[in-house]
């Protein structure tokens, strides 16, 4: 297994910046997820790592070796495509054996190795079939087997389960995770589904508009989003964001909503905004607590049943905020509720730079 290092890697298609200079180190055995909305450059990044796309700037290192201009076949990486890309004229067995045959392995070795990965993925009974005769999930299993068979230095997966239906997706997600743990395989995994990213990644690289927005563990990107984009994009629903005015240790959100800052936050906002100014307050839906004499007030818009809990949708100023409440609690539409925010889970963003404001100075 291997480490992958991107140094200021960049891709331009003519005038279009598909990936703006990015730095990323994927450690040995790590599972890194590239996450972002459609067109943000995830696939392009992956293709640059694999060598299928040439970079227009920067360096790529695999295990410290500069492979920026190496041919894909010289990088010893495996690529799993969204639409599987199984060779349609070969059987599953031939598909899986194909990468080994390029290395001139002996027949017996190929046979044995294919049998090994086939049983790892439980597809022994499908080996004689052509891809056309396989279900989506089985195609992806064969594609994974083809990737695994050669013991590559790293796996690159481009939305490998995006083309499957919901059922198969759940199964394959678990299966990929299991393979990752079994093989201790360095993996870069692309998805635009943040739930998938949170569930699978050791670390998540959030991208938007060709730019890396944040790199962090799932908990970090969830609880400490680096900017407004990440705050909105991660979680379902995304982070509640309410615009207010900061002055004298208090954030005014509306006439009867005043959020009193802790000394640390006060210091941080003071420094960031220079006395007073507009600020965006953010909190997760589970950080809101309904309390009778809470400092914040909002009007009930709707409330959704979610099985384990209810989601209360409130309107505060012009913003809609979501608060998770226990199952039994109901509120009539239009009623005013007062609530507080878990002091540990409140976040602030500078509306001008859109970046998160941090509490402690280095």
């Amino acid at each position: 297994m291997a480490t992958i290092e991107l140094r200021q890697v960049e891709k331009k298609f003519g005038d279009l910046h598909a990936v703006k200079p990015m730095d990323l180190t994927v450690h040995d055995g790590e599972f890194v997820v590239l996450l972002g909305p459609s067109g943000c450059g995830k696939t392009t990044t992956l293709r640059m790592i694999s060598g299928l796309e040439s970079v227009t700037g920067g360096q790529i290192l695999i295990d410290g070796r500069d492979v920026t201009w190496a041919h894909p076949s010289e990088r010893n990486i495996a690529f799993v495509f969204q639409f599987f890309a199984l060779y349609p004229h070969m059987t599953a067995w031939q598909n899986i054996a194909f990468p080994l045959q390029s290395q001139g392995e002996s027949r017996a070795a190929v046979k044995q190795r294919v049998a090994e990965v086939a049983s790892l993925l439980r597809i022994n009974h499908l080996l004689h079939l052509r891809p056309g005769a396989l279900s989506g999930g089985d195609k992806q299993r064969v594609a994974l087997a083809r990737a695994l068979v050669r013991h590559p230095a790293a796996f690159l997966m481009d939305e490998p389960i995006g083309a499957l239906d919901a059922d198969a997706r759940e199964t394959m997600r678990a299966e990929i995770k299991r393979l990752h743990l079994l093989e201790h395989a360095t993996t870069v995994y692309v998805t635009h589904d943040q739930v998938e990213a949170m569930a699978m990644g050791d670390r998540i690289v959030v991208m938007s508009e060709a730019l890396v927005q944040q790199i962090g563990t799932p908990a970090e990107v969830y609880h400490k989003p680096a900017n407004l984009f990440v705050a909105r994009f991660i979680g379902s629903p995304g982070m509640n964001l309410v615009t207010g005015h900061y002055a004298n240790g208090v954030v005014h959100l509306s006439e009867n909503s005043r959020y009193l800052l802790s000394p640390e936050w006060n210091q941080a906002l003071q420094r960031e905004l220079g006395g007073e100014g507009k600020v965006i307050l953010g909190f997760r839906s589970e950080a809101g607590v309904i309390v009778e004499d809470g400092p914040l007030a909002a009007e009930v818009f709707t409330s959704d049943l979610h099985g384990a809990y209810n989601m209360l949708n409130l309107s505060l100023n012009d913003d809609l905020v979501h608060i998770r409440v226990p199952r039994g609690i109901r509120y009539p539409m239009g009623a005013t509720v007062r609530f507080n925010i878990d002091a540990e889970m409140v976040r602030f963003f500078n509306p001008r730079t859109e970046a998160a404001i941090t509490r402690r100075v280095r």
Binding site: H71, P72, F81, P88, F98, S102, P131
Partner: protein, 332 residues
């Protein structure tokens, strides 16, 4: 699953369903359709049928009025076509008749027509020319076409739109317009009446067809196949051979047949640019019209024999021609 797969399955259900399961109305419509198809097919096959029967008629039967539908088949036409004969004098004829039993069946047929075989006719050489020229130019056109179609399909060729149009334009002018300049050029270059000259010419003409046809087929093959092969440790050329080629077989077969048919049947260039060494049957069959009475049977035999190779190739490749382009692994 591709759309093509879907339609072919639907169709096979319509036709393969047991008759009793099909509604009465549908059965009537099906019967009418079948009937009309047969009628059209018959009308279109009449000239072929006429040619085929004429090829087996004797000289007298071929020109009989009213035309004979029932006749005694003979290979006279074929013998006349393929063998060089001389007319026998009365004495020699009787002498030959006397030792008829020693003669081969071919010579007996010639003898019945009052002639003796003295060698192989020119026509055999012409057929060989056709095989060389049509075969050579088809192989070249498909091979070169495949490579350039792949390049146009996969790489950013600068000005590819203009280049493709230029390639297509090679076929736009009718042969009669370009034969004279080509004739003059070929004279100068010593390519007149040579196999290589004709192969080059037909290759140029067929390349436009093969590049365009094959580009369409290769465009249909997802790039991910080759990309998968590249990361699996293969070079671009190996990926082309092991992954693209097998998936382009349908297109290659179709292109081969089209190129072969063009080169095999070409008349105008062959008439102008060959005289003897590289002459092919299309311009020489009509030439038979002139020589001492019209040998209809020989002409029909020539035409029929000339059809057969193309039919055989088409038949051999029919599996690829009929099979839809199916890419099982990629859902689109």
């Amino acid at each position: 699953m591709t759309a093509l797969e879907g339609t072919s399955r639907q169709r096979s259900i319509t036709y393969a369903a047991p008759v009793h399961k099909v509604s009465r109305r549908a059965r009537v419509i099906l019967a009418i359709r079948a009937f009309l198809t047969v009628i059209v097919a018959l009308i279109m096959l009449i000239p072929v049928f006429w040619m085929a029967t004429t090829a087996f008629k004797s000289r007298a039967d071929a020109v009989a009025v009213p035309p004979k539908v029932f006749f005694k088949p003979t290979l006279e036409g074929f013998v006349n076509l393929l063998a060089e004969r001389s007319v026998l004098a009365q004495a020699r004829r009787q002498e030959m008749q006397a030792r008829r039993d020693e003669l081969s069946w071919i010579q007996r047929i010639a003898l019945d027509a009052g002639t003796e075989i003295i060698g192989v006719s020119q026509y055999v050489g012409r057929l060989r020319n056709s095989v060389i020229i049509a075969g050579g130019s088809t192989v070249l056109a498909v091979l070169l076409g495949l490579l350039s179609a792949y390049a146009f399909s996969r790489f950013n060729v600068p000005g590819s739109g203009d280049l493709l149009f230029f390639i297509l334009s090679q076929r736009m002018l009718p042969a009669v317009v370009v034969t004279i300049p080509i004739f003059l050029m070929y004279r100068r270059l010593g390519l007149h009446d040579t196999h290589i000259g004709m192969i080059l010419l037909y290759t140029v003409f067929n390349l436009s067809l093969s590049v365009w046809l094959l580009k369409g087929f290769i465009d249909e093959i997802p790039r991910q196949y080759e990309e998968a092969a590249l990361v699996d440790g293969y070079t671009r050329l190996q990926a082309f051979r092991k992954v693209v080629l097998p998936n382009a077989l349908t297109g290659i077969a179709a292109t081969t047949v089209f190129c072969l048919i063009f080169a095999w049947n070409e008349y105008a260039f062959a008439l102008m640019l060959t005289s003897d060494r590289a002459r092919t049957p299309p311009p020489s069959i009509p030439a038979k019209l002139g020589r001492g009475g019209i040998e209809w049977a020989a002409i029909a035999a020539g035409s029929l024999g000339f059809l057969i190779p193309v039919v055989i190739v088409t038949f051999a490749l029919r599996r690829y021609l009929l099979r839809g382009v199916t890419f099982g692994a990629i859902r689109q």
